[in-house]
Symmetry: C2
Subunit: 82 residues, 2 copies
Amino acid sequence: EDGATLFKKKTCFSCHGKDANTPLLPNYPRLAGQNADYALAQMKDIKSGVRNNGQTAGMKGVMHLVNDEEMKAIADWLSGLK
Amino acid sequence: EDGATLFKKKTCFSCHGKDANTPLLPNYPRLAGQNADYALAQMKDIKSGVRNNGQTAGMKGVMHLVNDEEMKAIADWLSGLK
């Protein structure tokens, strides 16, 4: 499935905003236009726990919903947004 | 000093790009327009080591150059960029 569909189905939009640019809270990151490699690395590190600072605990709780291929599709979609 | 001046003086631009939007490497984040609270929290967590994933080791090496007030000025400046 494509990144846009996954971003909805896997609940990402609920914290990061439908447009990936209007996060629910000011201490959540805006993701639209982010480098795909960087975004993918953060998803993987939060899923594995290698990154566990700030608000990542909440995100870690949903990362079981996505596999590597799906995280890549989401990261690529994000990087294409304005 | 204001965030723009600090972003130059404290070497941030060398990895994140003069416009904070053209990072040196694809696994470095684009920062322009990022939420100020989020950006500040990441700077503090990388400086303290609470966040130490990915490429943060290199950044940790320069964080002694900035204090809390300067990090806040940089974060606020970043959030105002397009």
